[in-house]
């Protein structure tokens, strides 16, 4: 469903040039649960951002569901992100000024969905992550695990085809991390949602279908696990 061809990303500042990604070729199949590992600074986040159209590669091509996405307008890209992709960030990235329910509704806000329907879908998503009793809370009133579950609810509320998770359990203890992982596994299993997850945790990676390793901006290996 997602295909990266010869992706290259160079960060240029006045003084230095950082080659963050080079020669990345990767296919993600529909319904796949893929994990990405690698040392800090090797380009995992950069890769995920390019997959999610949050960042543009300096070279190569991204295509999504057989549609090449090069040269899309801001409006078209926004639409694409809105309809097809759900993000989960390591640092949650919730809007602190809005209560949980409004945070979860966010993706639907940019679609033609009525207020009551938004509410219903957001409540449903919050139920899925076990947070229906925290709808009126503000992010500052939640624990890290709860925040990440809100972020997951926000990522799934619009039923995206692809979920991109950048170290979703990175800031959580193992019990909480395990719970989050279970939610992702369930999403992948029950709804056939394609998931790409960056992780530092070998055990988490083993629970996915396939693991790719990044080193210094290049893909170095790819393992498939058939235990999933």
């Amino acid at each position: 469903m997602l295909s990266l061809q010869n992706i290259e990303k160079i960060y240029r500042t006045d003084t230095i040039e950082t080659l963050a990604l080079q020669n990345i070729n990767l296919e993600v199949a529909k319904g796949e649960f893929l994990s990405i590992m690698g040392p800090s600074g090797c380009g995992k986040s950069t890769l995920l951002n390019i997959m999610g159209l949050l960042d543009a590669p300096t070279g190569g091509a991204v295509s999504f569901e057989n549609e090449a996405l090069t040269g899309f307008s801001d409006k078209k890209l926004s639409q694409f992100r809105n309809q097809k992709i759900g993000f989960i960030f390591q640092s949650y990235h919730l809007i602190n000024d809005l209560p949980v329910l409004d945070n979860v509704e966010l993706p639907l806000l940019y679609r033609n969905v009525s207020g009551s329907e938004r509410r219903r879908l957001a409540q449903e998503a919050l139920e899925k992550v076990g947070l229906s009793n925290r709808m009126k809370h503000y992010p500052s009133q939640l624990s890290g695990g709860q925040k990440q579950r809100v972020a997951i609810a926000r990522a799934i509320v619009g039923r995206p085809h692809l979920i991109l998770a950048d170290e979703p359990t990175g800031n959580l203890d193992s019990a909480m991390g395990n719970e989050i992982m279970e939610i992702l596994e369930q999403l992948n299993r029950d709804d056939q949602t394609t998931i790409v997850m960056v992780t530092h945790d070998e055990n988490m990676a083993k629970r996915t279908h396939r693991l790719v390793r990044l080193f210094d901006g290049s893909l170095v290996s790819s393992n498939s696990f058939y235990n999933a």
């Binding site: 960042d55 801001d74 926004s78 639409q79 000024d97 809005l98």
Partner: protein, 415 residues
């Protein structure tokens, strides 16, 4: 969508109490001051009760007689003789009425000492002005023909002299030792309507003095009404022409060679005009220029403030922008959101200003600082200032929002 934006606006306003206060205060203060000042301006100079014809009225200026050899000058209002001789005879005006400059008299009524402003008027005065008669009627030509000792009073005087809401028509009131029969009671007007306001109005024939005097000087001012606003200038020109041909009078040693007088719009006719160039008839224009410059200067402070606050407000919300973009907000949608927020804040400020100014005007109108004060909110000014605030708000909100919305998402999120 709108309710979500509303929520975020209110949340931001709540969270940033100090900035909210400053920006609301800026908008609110400026608007309030402008509204109150224009209310006072209109109260003084607008065509309000009972001067509904002010737009096509001119008012006689003082007569100025100058002896150029000694530089001696004599200045004062005019006599009935002068008005009848040189103003009532003009061809352009539709109506010429006159009244005396206000004078005070003490009288006793209802067991109290009352200080009353009184004016002598002619019958046309009552045709020109749209007084509300609470009872009775105006002084008419008939009253003059019969040389009747009649009087029109305002409701305040009626209440003070005869008792609250007691009918006064047919009763007598004693003024200057004369017993005058009340023939009408009008709703009073504030004393700031200098040409028309008084507590008591009497036929000018009751004035003491020699009725056959041909002196130019007296206590009277003429109100000259043109048939239409377009004819005001012609009326003024006709009188200027007449003035040039008036034979000069001599007063003992004082032998003037020049006589100046003219018909002026209200603004120029009252003292303020002299400062700003009444002679050329440009005083009001000049006043407006100064007032508008002042208002712009005055508004520029909160405007700069607003721009500043807006920019920092938006800059500090880059992470929100990043999040919204990640989940599908386009740059355009984001700008739309910030524009809405700005409009909302401006409108809240405007609404507050309206409430506060309405309060101030109400308080003033009821404070009896000026009896019959009828300050009102000028909606044109309100709308213009709100639109200006919106423009500033948009300029200061849209540009940074637009730039922020163009920021790469990854960078916005990192901030």
């Amino acid at each position: 969508m709108l309710s979500n934006y509303l929520k975020i606006t209110l949340a931001v306003m709540r969270r940033r109490k100090f900035f909210t206060f400053i920006s609301l205060f800026g908008i609110c203060m400026t608007l309030t001051i402008l509204i109150v000042l224009t209310a006072f301006y209109e109260h003084m100079f607008g065509g309000k009760y009972p001067e509904v014809y002010r737009n096509r009225s001119l008012f006689s200026s003082m007569i100025e007689e100058i002896d150029t050899t000694t530089d001696a000058t004599r200045r004062g209002p005019m006599s009935v003789y002068f008005i009848k001789q040189y103003i009532s005879t003009l061809k352009t005006p539709e109506k010429v009425g006159f009244s005396s400059t206000p004078n005070t008299v003490n009288t006793y009524g209802n067991g109290k000492k009352l200080k009353l402003y009184f004016k002598y008027t002619d019958p046309v005065f009552w045709e020109i002005l749209a007084f509300d008669f609470l009872e009775g009627q105006a002084i008419t030509q008939q009253n003059f023909d019969r040389n009747e000792a009649v009087v029109v009073i305002n409701d305040q005087t009626r209440d003070d002299y005869f008792g609250k809401d007691v009918s006064a028509v047919g009763k007598t009131i004693e003024i200057n030792g004369q017993n005058l029969r009340v023939i009408g009671v009008v709703r009073g007007s504030p004393i700031t309507r200098l040409m028309v306001s008084a507590d008591v109005y009497m036929p000018y024939l009751l004035q003491k003095g020699d009725p056959t005097s041909t002196s130019f000087n007296g206590p009277f001012q003429a109100i000259v009404v043109a048939k239409s606003e377009q004819e005001v200038a012609a009326m003024q020109a006709e009188f200027d022409d007449v003035v040039r041909r008036i034979p000069l009078q001599q007063y003992g040693d004082f032998k003037p060679q020049v006589l100046k007088t003219s018909l002026l719009p209200y603004f120029e006719s009252i003292s303020m005009g002299g400062l700003l160039g009444a002679e050329e008839g440009k005083a009001q224009q000049r006043f407006f220029t100064i007032a508008i410059l002042f208002a712009l200067f005055f508004m520029s402070l909160p405007a700069i403030n607003l721009v500043n606050i807006n920019v920092s407000r938006i800059l500090e919300r880059s992470s929100e922008i990043g999040i919204r973009k990640s989940f599908g907000a386009s740059a355009q949608t984001l700008v739309y959101q910030f524009v809405l927020e700005n409009i909302l804040i401006t409108l809240i400020g405007g609404a507050l200003a309206l409430l506060i100014s309405a309060g101030i005007l109400w308080w003033f109108n009821n404070s009896h600082f000026i009896d019959y004060a009828d300050l009102t909110i000028n909606w044109t000014v309100v709308i213009i200032t709100i639109v200006l605030s919106l423009v500033f708000g948009l300029m200061s909100g849209v540009l940074p929002a637009w730039r922020m919305s163009k920021l790469p998402i990854v960078e916005a999120l990192r901030a």
